[in-house]
Every structure is written in structure tokens, then in C-alpha cells.
């Protein structure tokens, strides 16, 4: 079992949300004070360093034109982390490749970070959430197709060592691909892909990459993992899917007392509550199949989305399996419950900082988790454990 400290490096000093239409895409950047932003980055990087000291690995991601995650060039922050850390694995989850015009450039950036970190990179790839479409001026139609072609080209660029090759695909063209440096790790850094749908997870399983899913709760996560295991088995990878192929991202706050944990959890909930996004940015045409849009037009999904964000409560998200918060014993129990329900996973991606959770509060939770929860998880759930329901029963 591995745990990852995930921070979205948010900028929380915003006017009341009644004063803006969207926290993403269109929120004017005059609201962003670069001096406050620089101070925030100082502490966020320090928090990642604390995580490393405590045996927790490091995760970051990339978003554009948003206060929720002020990291529009995650490889740059990753490069900085590569030099201020020594041992932690560095997970970027991920590169929004359907919105990147040059997959070969992405391959170069990742290879460079892998070299700068002496082989500590875990390279994640995402299609990109819908709100990134406008920010990237990216065509919302055929993002899955672009994602698949770009990922194939990136892996080929990483693993081709005998001079240039050419690529003339549906979406990308490159006549002389021959990246320098090549990745530090051989054959290439571990590949992670985040998917929240069963059909996507089945494809990731067939490819054997690490599957991460975000805030999908008990049932959604179980469906995604079942699909992954099905894809894995049907591709002939064997009956046993190791838990280290599966990752789950949740909000986490661990306090010494219930009261302390509750206070921290309320602040971490900003991550969900602050996501005010109008429908035209949340559901660009073509991002989801027309059948899904038919439901949105009936008002079925749009309202759900808005209500979920605005009305989220700590108890509600704990019960839904989106958050683990409490004393170490309580967090262990919450973890165990979702672990067993979904058939096991080997990586907990900890959304451990959000909104106004300050530096000391963030560090306390990282330490409480690392010292009082993680050792039990590592002892009970070794990386080589097998996921799936027979296996989970055997562990108990």
C-alpha cells in the first residue's frame, strides 16, 4: 500500500461565489495576487517535502484557468519537486494529453523530469476534465480518440532508442521523433490513467496501466475496478490483478481527536463545495455521448452536479465514500470499509489540502496519517496483494 499526498495548489482568496459565474475558465485573474500565490507555493512545496519525510509519496495535477488548481504547467512544478525531494515517488496525474497539441513534447517533458529525479517519475495521463476544453481551445469532440493516439505516440517516443521514427496518425504528425533525454526508468516510467467510467477502465485494464479513479464512492469505484479486472483478465494478463494496479483518490483528514478531525474535514470539503461551474463549461458538446446529453437536457444530470457540489456535507461525503476523516482508528475503519467493498486497491491518493486548511493543519494530518494509519495499511495490504473479492475475503 502506498499513500500519496495530493494538493491542487488552490488559490482560495476569492470573493463570495454569488459574485462570479464560474470558478473555472472565466474568473478574472485580477483576483489572483501573485505575491499571495508565491507564498502559497512556498508552503505547498514544503507540505510535499513533509510528506516525503513521513514516507508518503507525492502527487500533483494540472488544470487551467481556475482558482481550484493553480498549476497550468504541472511538469514545471514536478521539475522543482524533483530537485527539492530525494526519495519520494513523483506522480503527475495527469498530463491532459487530449488538450496538448504536441504529444512528443509531453514525452520530452516527462523524460526530463524522470532524469532530473533519478527515476522517480510516475507518469499519469488524463483526457482532461470538461472545463479544460475552453481553456485549451480544444475541440471537445473526439477527445478519447486523441488521448489514445497521443498516449501510444508518447510511449513509443520513450521506448525507441535507435534514431528517429515517424508518426503519421489521424491527429498527430511527426517525421523525426528521437527524444533527448530518454527516460531514466526502463522501459519507461510507470503509466497511470484516470478514468471514472467502466468502459474506460476496461481498456486501461487490458493495457495493464495503473488505474486511478477520483471521488467515485462505493458503487462507482467498485464498477470501475470490476471493469479494470475484467479488461486485465480478458487481455490474458492472468487471473490475479495486483492491488498496486488500482488507485483511489479521496479527501482525507486525520486528527488526534474527533473534534480536530472534524474541523479539518470541514475545511477540506472546500474542494467539493467551491467547484461552481455553469453547465456550458461543465458539459461541452461532444465531451460525453449524445445519450448522456439527452439526460442533461431533461435536467437530470446538471442539477445533480450542482446540488452535489453546493450541498456537500462532511457526513454526506464520508458516507458516500468520498472522504475519510476522523481519528486514526476511524480513518482506518473507513478505509477498510471502502477497500473491502471495491475489492481492494494499492494506492490511496490523499486530497490532503484544500481551501483554507492552513499549513500547520495540513502537516498535522499528513503526520497523523503517516504515523498512525499508513503502517497498519502497509502491514495488512502489501503491494503484492491480489485485488478482487475472493482475495479480499482471504485477507480478512
Amino acid at each position: 500500500m502506498k499513500a500519496w499526498h495530493f494538493s491542487e495548489t488552490a488559490y482560495p482568496y476569492l470573493p463570495p461565489d454569488s459574485e462570479y459565474e464560474s470558478i473555472r475558465v472565466s474568473l478574472p485573474n485580477r483576483i489572483y495576487d501573485p505575491k499571495k500565490g508565491a507564498a502559497l507555493y512556498d508552503r505547498f512545496i514544503e507540505e510535499w517535502q513533509v510528506a516525503e519525510e513521513e514516507g508518503v509519496d507525492i502527487m500533483l495535477n494540472e488544470h487551467h484557468q481556475t482558482a481550484t488548481c493553480v498549476d497550468p504547467a504541472a511538469p514545471l512544478v514536478l521539475a522543482a519537486l524533483a530537485r527539492v525531494t530525494k526519495t519520494a515517488r513523483l506522480l503527475i496525474l495527469g498530463n491532459p494529453v487530449a488538450n496538448r497539441r504536441q504529444p512528443v513534447r509531453v514525452a520530452e517533458e516527462m523524460a526530463l523530469v524522470d532524469v532530473l529525479s533519478h527515476g522517480r517519475l510516475e507518469a499519469g495521463f488524463v483526457r482532461g476534465v470538461p472545463y479544460e476544453i475552453s481553456a485549451g481551445n480544444s475541440n471537445p469532440v473526439r477527445t478519447n480518440e486523441r488521448f489514445a493516439e497521443a498516449l501510444g505516440l508518447i510511449i513509443k517516443a520513450w521506448t525507441s532508442h535507435d534514431g528517429p521514427f515517424s508518426h503519421e496518425g489521424r491527429f498527430y504528425h511527426h517525421r523525426q521523433v528521437n527524444i533527448w533525454p530518454r527516460p531514466y526508468q526502463a522501459p519507461h516510467p510507470p503509466v497511470w490513467i484516470s478514468t471514472t467510467t467502466p468502459s474506460g477502465a476496461e481498456r486501461v485494464g487490458a493495457q495493464g496501466f495503473v488505474q486511478a479513479t477520483f471521488l467515485t464512492g462505493y458503487e462507482g469505484t467498485r464498477r470501475v475496478y470490476e471493469a479494470y479486472r475484467k479488461g486485465w483478465r480478458e487481455a490474458g494478463r492472468g487471473d490475479d490483478v495486483p492491488i498496486n494496479r488500482l488507485a483511489y483518490a479521496a479527501l482525507v483528514y486525520v486528527g488526534e481527536s474527533e473534534a480536530e478531525a472534524r474541523a479539518g474535514a470541514e475545511k477540506v470539503l472546500w474542494y467539493i463545495r467551491a467547484n461552481k461551474v455553469p453547465q456550458h463549461f461543465a458539459f461541452p458538446p461532444g465531451y460525453a455521448p449524445p445519450q448522456a446529453f439527452a439526460r442533461i437536457m431533461r435536467g437530470e444530470l446538471g442539477d445533480q452536479h450542482a446540488n452535489f457540489s453546493a450541498q456537500a456535507t462532511v457526513d454526506g461525503v464520508i458516507n458516500a465514500g468520498l472522504m475519510m476523516a476522523g481519528t486514526p482508528d476511524q480513518v482506518y475503519a473507513q478505509f477498510r470499509k471502502i477497500y473491502d467493498h471495491v475489492g481492494g486497491f494499492g494506492h490511496l491518493l490523499i486530497m490532503g489540502q484544500a481551501g483554507f486548511l492552513d499549513h500547520d493543519e495540513t502537516v498535522r494530518s499528513i503526520r497523523n496519517f503517516a504515523r498512525h494509519v499508513l503502517p497498519r495499511l502497509k502491514a495488512e495490504m502489501p503491494d503484492t496483494a491480489i485485488s478482487g473479492f475472493a482475495a479480499a475475503a482471504a485477507v480478512q
Binding site: 472565466s26 471537445p140 456550458h280 458538446p285 461532444g286 449524445p290 446529453f293 431533461r298 435536467g299
Partner: protein, 257 residues
């Protein structure tokens, strides 16, 4: 109207056809073609209307290779060849107007008369201002206010539509995004080809059109040798929907001149 499926460049295309008179190729806009609309009945009184659903619209297929209005233009040139139509009058609305202009630049001698209704397709204004507002970065209510003179006429009753109808609307919207996303609503090459258009050309614009401005249509018309502009009052981006009688009158005055 009859409805059949034909195959162009290997793509199954839904084709509506009906009415008596000289053939008239009708190229629909972003909302697709709906044969029940009153203007369709008016047009088929005097003309044999030929109205394909563009790839990805209505019941027409959309292959992975196709991603531009330019691609669609070649399909309909193939259609004219297949039907042995040497010359035809063409009316195109909105992105269908763009499509009609593309066809007319590729084969000027195949077009008799050309009517462009609130057409997009060219970039005329400054770099830092969109010629056509970004309808995908605003609420659908706000977009409807730009599109319609009388927003009540544009109100679609989603709650009482079937899943199939809603899915078609969503798919039409998706294909519109695919074809118009970048460059936004235009082909940078088109304006440098418009001088080839030989057909007498009429631009028809709804006076309340919030997407295609009067200045845009005037500038567009100046790029075509034999073109003029007419305006329909009390109509927005789709005068054929909001003022069908006036639309038919203006169109026939031009086509029959």
C-alpha cells in the same frame, strides 16, 4: 417529403426530397433539417427541394476522417455528379451557408443562384474580437437570445421530447462543435476563394440576428463579385423559422428573377 438513405464517399447520408419545380439544394444549419417546418412546405410549392442531413446530423453517419465543412462540400459535389445535375440553385443557412459558399468556390459553374441565410464561414474583423459570438461559452438561454428575434419561438420543450429526439439534438450540437470549433466558425482560406463564385448571390439576414452582424454580412458580400444583401424584419439568425412567408417570398423573388 420522401426520406431515403444514400451513400456518398462511403457515408450513409439521410436525404429528404420533395416538391415540384426546378431543383433547389437546401443546406441546413446547426439545428439540422426538420421537414415539418412551415418554410419547407412553402419552398416545395414551387421547387423540388433536395435537403440532405450533413454527416453527423439527423440520421446521417459521421466517419472519423471527416472534421470540416470543406469535407462536406466535396460530398455534395459528388452528389451532383451522381444525379447528373449540371447546375443547381443552392440555399444554405448558417453553417449551411458556409457550406454553400465552399461548394460555389470549388465548382462555380455548377451553381445557378446562391442564397446565403445568416452565413458564417469567413473571418473579417480584428484578431482580438470574435466575428461570431462564442455560443459554447454561454448558457443556452443566452445563446437563444442571440439566435431568435422572438425567444418564445426558439424555446424547445425538452421535457416532452423522446430520448431519440433529444439524442439527435445533442448529436447535431456535437457535430456543430466538431466542424466549427477551430478556427471558430470559419475557414481562413475561404475568403481568398470567394472571388471565384460566379452565381448571382443573395445574402439574407434577420434584422435581429445576434450571431451574424449586418457588418459581417456586408463584408462577406463584398468578397463575392455579384452579391447583394437583403434583410428580413422581426427575425433572428433563422428567418426561415421566424418569418417563413417573408423568407419564401424574398427567396423566390431572387431565385426566379
Amino acid at each position: 417529403m420522401t426520406r431515403e438513405t444514400i451513400t456518398l464517399a462511403g457515408i450513409d447520408i439521410e436525404l429528404f426530397e420533395g416538391g415540384n419545380g426546378a431543383p433547389l439544394l437546401f443546406l441546413h444549419g446547426a439545428q439540422g433539417f426538420a421537414p415539418a417546418q412551415p418554410y419547407v412546405g412553402l419552398l416545395t410549392q414551387h421547387r423540388h427541394l433536395i435537403a440532405p442531413s450533413h454527416p453527423g446530423f439527423g440520421a446521417s453517419a459521421l466517419p472519423l476522417w471527416l472534421d470540416s465543412i470543406d469535407d462536406v462540400a466535396y460530398l455534395y459535389l459528388e452528389f451532383l455528379d451522381r444525379r447528373k445535375i449540371e447546375r443547381i440553385d443552392v440555399v444554405g443557412c448558417s453553417l449551411g451557408g458556409w457550406l454553400a459558399a465552399e461548394i460555389a468556390t470549388k465548382a462555380p459553374d455548377r451553381i445557378g443562384r446562391l442564397a446565403l441565410v445568416g452565413p458564417v464561414g469567413v473571418k473579417l474583423g480584428p484578431t482580438d474580437k470574435l466575428d461570431i459570438p462564442d455560443i459554447f461559452a454561454m448558457s443556452q438561454e443566452k445563446a437563444a437570445r442571440l439566435i431568435y428575434h422572438d425567444i418564445g419561438k426558439g424555446k424547445l420543450d425538452f421535457a416532452n421530447m423522446t430520448d431519440a429526439q433529444l439524442t439527435t439534438i445533442a448529436r447535431n450540437r456535437e457535430t456543430t462543435a466538431l466542424l466549427t470549433w477551430e478556427p471558430w466558425m470559419h475557414n481562413p482560406k475561404l475568403r481568398h476563394r470567394l472571388h471565384r463564385i460566379a452565381a448571382p448571390t443573395l445574402f439574407i439576414r434577420g434584422a435581429s440576428d445576434g450571431l451574424v452582424s449586418a457588418a459581417y454580412v456586408e463584408g462577406y458580400a463584398k468578397l463575392i463579385p455579384n452579391a447583394r444583401v437583403t434583410t428580413i424584419e422581426a427575425a433572428g439568425h433563422a428567418p426561415q423559422l421566424e418569418q417563413p412567408e417573408e423568407f419564401a417570398r424574398v427567396l423566390f423573388d431572387f431565385l426566379d428573377a
